[in-house]
């Protein structure tokens, strides 16, 4: 019973060093993938919540833009609130400096919001490439470990001059274990990559939609002043 309970450990321990290396690498990669997945899941949940909260406050019209700015500037959010804060900062600075040409203000605010959108999207996409890479390369790395393991096990078969299943099976099992770990790492990576890529797209559309609407509002105000 004790020997079979340690099956996974012995399977690993008897493997060729290349197979061991591949297994350890893939195991670390799997931990990394799940860490990224947990991190991104939390991040997107936070961003969605913050965006919903801000947009509800924004469209309710209960607070002035200045009050909204004071409320959300400190929050340092990553959603539409960041856009609003960046745009309103630029607006305030220009108004307070008594800039002559309000036509330039419109262009500046739009640029500022575009830069903010790019920054936020970059923040959301960070480390997603790791998931894509693991998802595509993981099975191959595992397969490499399997091929190396089967090669070494065939060599040991040739050395022992015995082809009974008892001699052949453990080597092949440990070799296949490498592919199994590769798939274990790659499958969640692919699933999470697709999920988060779709989520990034959704958030980008939301940011761009808000940017267009807010710049329209500001443009109306600029025209009213001008």
């Amino acid at each position: 019973m004790s020997s079979s309970s340690l099956e996974l450990v012995t399977l690993f321990w008897h493997a060729h060093w290349i197979v061991k290396l591949v297994m350890v690498g893939l195991l670390v990669t799997s931990v990394w993938v799940w860490a990224i997945a947990i991190n991104k899941t939390r991040l997107f949940a936070r961003i969605r919540k913050a965006g919903d909260y801000f947009e509800q406050a924004f469209w309710s019209g209960e607070q002035s833009f200045e009050e909204l700015y004071k409320t959300f500037a400190a929050a340092n959010g990553h959603s539409t609130d960041a856009l609003f804060v960046a745009a309103w900062e630029e607006w305030k600075r220009s108004i307070e400096a008594h800039v002559r040409s309000l036509a330039g203000l419109q262009v500046r605010i739009e640029k500022k919001m575009n830069v903010t959108i790019a920054r936020e999207i970059e923040h959301m996409e960070r480390r997603l490439l790791v998931l894509a890479t693991v998802g595509s390369a993981g099975p191959f790395v595992g397969l490499f470990g399997t091929v190396a393991g089967i090669m070494s096990s065939f060599q040991s078969i040739a050395a022992s001059q015995n082809t009974s299943l008892a001699v052949v099976a453990p080597g092949i099992a440990e070799a296949l274990f490498a592919t199994a770990i590769g798939l274990v790492a790659a499958i969640p990576a692919t699933i999470f990559y697709n999920k988060f890529a779709a989520e990034v797209n959704r958030q980008a559309q939301r940011l761009e939609g808000f940017a267009d609407e807010f710049s329209a509002i500001l443009s109306r105000q600029i025209d009213e002043r001008g």
Binding site: M1, S4, S5, L6, E7, L8, V9, L27, S30, V31, W32, V33, W34, A35, I36, A37, I38, N39, R42
Partner: protein, 292 residues
């Protein structure tokens, strides 16, 4: 990000431990003793088994008389209680190989279990002899037992008695006689010439054969040649005409067929393992079939 790493690492460790536990609880494959030995029987084996052996001893002596098998009859029969002693010994011998076949058994356990089962007193002398050979320690004690035949022992008297059912039935000879037969002189094995071999032979003959003048695919004529082959596929002797249609073209057709067969030998497409099949064959030369 660090907390995410920790959570992920803990999750992996948990899954690993769970895997250890579940793999440990799964038992190794079913009992090894339940294996059924399986032998692969190929066509070649079947044909070999069906063939009589050329070097088998000639069985001119009569087949052994069948003894009775232990099946009670419906009708009561008055029979002598004890059969003569020599008879017991002769038919005690044949069933023995059935109980202990010479081929190796996959599991030694049944063999070991059989020995104590043999409480039948008929086998006791053999058992003692076996024990004497195997066990040197027990030798003196066993000898004592055998050296005291005069002592009254109920079990030994029971041993001398015929314990078989007196009402047993007579069995037919084929049931009891298990000696291999020589095989009939013309016995053919079960294996057949494969269609590919026949086709290859036909194709080869078609290539070699040039019909004599006056014979074409519309001519309704045939000739059958008996051909004897050597194991290497060459002809053992010139083909012999065994049948043919009555036609002035017949002799020419037979000659062309003989020529074709002699030119094309050896016929290597015929496999040596089926030699018994094609050693003696009849080739049918029919312009209708061969010309197309």
């Amino acid at each position: 990000m660090r907390s995410d790493w920790i959570i992920s690492g803990c999750g992996h460790v948990a899954i690993f431990v769970a895997g250890l536990v579940t793999l440990a609880s799964s038992k190794p494959n079913a009992d090894v003793s339940n294996f059924v030995p399986v032998a692969v029987v190929t066509d070649t084996d079947v044909s070999r088994a069906a063939l009589g052996q050329e070097n088998a001893p000639n069985q001119s002596k009569p087949k052994p008389l069948a003894d009775k098998i232990d099946i009670p009859k419906q009708v009561e029969q008055v029979a002598p209680k004890a059969a003569p002693k020599p008879e017991i010994k002769t038919d005690a011998a044949p069933p023995k190989p059935q109980q202990k076949p010479p081929e190796q058994k996959p599991d030694p356990k049944p063999k070991a279990a059989q020995k104590p089962d043999k409480k039948d007193p008929q086998f006791k002398p053999d058992k003692i002899a076996d024990l004497l050979k195997k066990d040197e320690k027990q030798k003196p004690r066993e000898q004592k037992e055998t050296q005291q035949p005069l002592k009254y022992d109920a079990s030994e008297i029971a041993q001398l008695l015929d314990h078989r059912d007196p009402r047993r039935e007579l069995a037919s000879g084929s049931v009891l006689n298990q000696e291999a037969s020589l095989g009939a002189p013309n016995a053919a094995p079960d294996a057949q010439l494969s269609q590919s071999e026949i086709d290859a032979l036909r194709q080869r003959i078609r290539e070699c054969w040039s019909p004599p003048p006056g014979v074409d695919s519309d001519t309704n004529i045939y000739v059958e040649l008996r051909v004897l082959f050597r194991p290497d596929g060459s002809l053992a002797q010139p083909p012999v005409v065994v049948a043919g249609s009555a036609s002035p073209l017949g002799p020419a057709l037979a000659e062309s067929g003989k020529r074709a067969l002699l030119q094309c030998q050896p016929f290597t497409m015929l496999k040596p393992e089926h030699y018994a099949q094609w050693r003696d064959i009849t080739v049918n030369f029919n312009p209708r079939e061969l010309s197309n």
